[in-house]
Subunit: 200 residues, 2 copies
């Protein structure tokens, strides 16, 4: 049994959102599992000296058009949120708290977070908002609000982010498959090719 | 008759090299011409605050592996030149000088430049090297050496670079099709889709 594909992303990353909608299906077609790893991309950007895409001269405007176009081509919901980019501490911490209990639930939660933020354009910074969209998935509101303030969970997200950077992750989405790194929502064809050829 | 697809690149850009090997064939399958525009990417990077890929922590190592992999998947020659990245003034100026005489010859010259640099790994900074690989294409050596020192040709490259940046170009490869911008060697699928749908 091969080890799971590692999928790294930031909840505030549009390209991460697009990739999240596709990666499990792609992996499953090769009989592979995917392990999701939300992270604080800002920490990696300090290492590479990168700035948030939307704030970069020329590139920011390009990306805004590219996100619209990508959503149209993928036929998925898309809204550029009024508050963008954001710090995604609450959603990321809640993810790891859920992941330790039930990884399938954690993925449903992550997809809900992406949908609320980039599908509906609603700010997911406040823990209260996170608790609200998690509730229909069967997540207890008060337990979630307590978890995102828990020291161990806070440290867990820091550790996950540090481990991702140590593994070479500098962008979102990022995938590591049997040690091989892939970066970008537009590298799914390459991942398919890699899996098909048995890692060459 | 549609206007030509504009293809922007820097001779020192690996992703520009990979795109140069494919863009004309893709365009031709939709009955479209391609106009090549080498530029000094450094000028655009000043606007965006970007650094050369190979010099970026984490990203540099990722890209080196990605170039190897891309060349393998595309089945094209690839060497990371010992001298990289480089300033490509001589090759870019020679391109525009040739382009004014014969655009098909200018493209053959550009492909030769890319092949010498990224296929063979040989530094194409010196004008003498550029003159040498242009000679088998029927380009007079002394005329080329004079052209790359000509004030009007020097200014032409500056103007082309300025016009590219004004049009929103910030990376290599970059394509503008009927006003729509596309960035990256991995966006050929998107260009195909755009052309197929008649620009939607």
């Amino acid at each position: 049994m091969s080890e799971p594909i590692k999928f790294y992303f930031d909840f505030s990353s549009p390209y991460g959102y697009f990739a999240a909608l596709k990666i499990d299906e792609l992996a499953a077609s090769f009989g592979r599992q995917v392990e999701w790893h939300p992270m604080m991309l800002g920490a990696a950007m300090k290492v590479t000296g990168a700035k948030p895409l939307a704030e970069i001269e020329l590139k920011g405007d390009y990306c805004k058009n590219d996100w619209d176009r990508l959503a149209r081509y993928m036929e998925v919901p898309w809204t550029l949120p009024a508050v963008f980019p954001i710090g995604t501490l609450a959603a990321s911490r809640a993810f790891y708290w859920l992941d330790d209990q039930d990884d399938a639930l954690a993925k449903r939660f992550a997809l809900a977070a992406f949908n609320v933020y980039f599908g509906q354009g609603r700010d997911i910074t406040p823990a209260e908002t996170v608790a609200e969209f998690a509730e229909p998935l069967g997540v207890d509101r008060d337990a979630l609000l307590a978890a995102v303030q828990d020291q161990a969970i806070k440290q867990r997200l820091k550790d996950e982010t540090g481990k991702a950077i140590d593994a070479g992750v500098f962008g979102s989405p990022f995938y590591i498959i049997d040690g091989e790194p892939f970066w970008g929502a537009d590298r799914l064809w390459m991942i398919r090719r890699w899996l098909k050829s048995g890692g060459w």
